[in-house]
Symmetry: C2
């Protein structure tokens, strides 16, 4: 009964997001393997963290691709983004600026590419007259990121039902960014 590398990464992400100081022994346990096996998979803690970051980038890129940001109404595109990112919110959270588990993603690295896709979506929405002009696109990305993390935590803590989370998030976010409110 082999635990897949991906399962290990997912488990590591979840436990490290919640407790960044978790020892390797406990990370391995959380993934259902022994510490020796974990060390066979990755040469060091630092390497695990780097691999986690790369995995998170890959998963996020795929999620954003599946959300097809350039297609259709910007409002619907935001809905699709949230639906796509919710299942990987914990991985996504590792990449967002708030979590320094992953040290200093480089300014021109994969993260800024992904960030740029979301900024472009917001700007498309502004040009289409759907989104507010007075809020910076960067804030849209930050707000989305932080609410994804927040919703993920709320679900994790049982404060929000898993099936309600996407809707709660998207309603609040869209309500906040849509034009024509004041």
């Amino acid at each position: 009964m082999t635990t897949s590398r991906e399962d290990v990464l997912r488990a590591a992400a979840a436990v490290l997001l919640h407790r960044p100081r978790t020892p390797m022994e406990d990370i391995a346990r959380a993934a259902g393997i022994s510490r020796a096996t974990l060390h066979r998979m990755v040469p060091s803690r630092a390497a695990l963290v780097r691999e986690l970051a790369a995995f998170a980038v890959t998963q996020t890129r795929a999620a954003l691709a599946s959300a097809r940001l350039e297609e259709g109404e910007p409002v619907e595109a935001v809905r699709r983004v949230v639906d796509a990112l919710m299942p990987i919110a914990d991985l996504y959270a590792l990449l967002s600026g708030e979590n320094q588990l992953v040290e200093s993603t480089e300014p021109d690295g994969p993260w800024s590419e992904l960030d740029g896709l979301l900024i472009a979506l917001y700007r498309r929405g502004q040009e289409a007259g759907a989104f507010r002009l007075d809020l910076p696109a960067e804030w849209f990305v930050d707000a989305l990121s932080s609410m994804l993390v927040g919703a993920s935590w709320a679900v994790h803590d049982g404060r929000l039902a898993r099936r309600d989370a996407p809707r709660a998030l998207v309603e609040l976010l869209l309500g906040g960014i849509r034009r024509g409110q004041s």
Copy 2:
């Protein structure tokens, strides 16, 4: 030239929020004191963390009190809350569920009291017809918390101007929670 205890706590909060694994030596440096002096102030790392938590509770309680949650229009009360919490967003972030630096704040501890004040505000807004009925009050608190953290980070990283942050946050939040949008 003595660094006040509060300054040390503030600096420690900021650095630990960003890098939970920061060694005591680096925490002390960030606070402008030596490690020996830090150890004279607190007997251990665990004690520092406990004191930080208590300080965060005190500061948050004071901020919420200054925001006068029960007075006037719920919308204006939310504005006051954001204005009051922004300057202490990093301390507040230590208390919010997202950050396990402070391990497991007890269910009936000070945090749930503060949480309860915000929940009561949202419910007051619902009853007054100002806030949406379909979003849970708990989600309001989670969204506020996570956006406070997100905005604080955006400012820290230079993505959002410090003077624009409160407005960006409150506009998005209020836009999302107000009634009569759809």
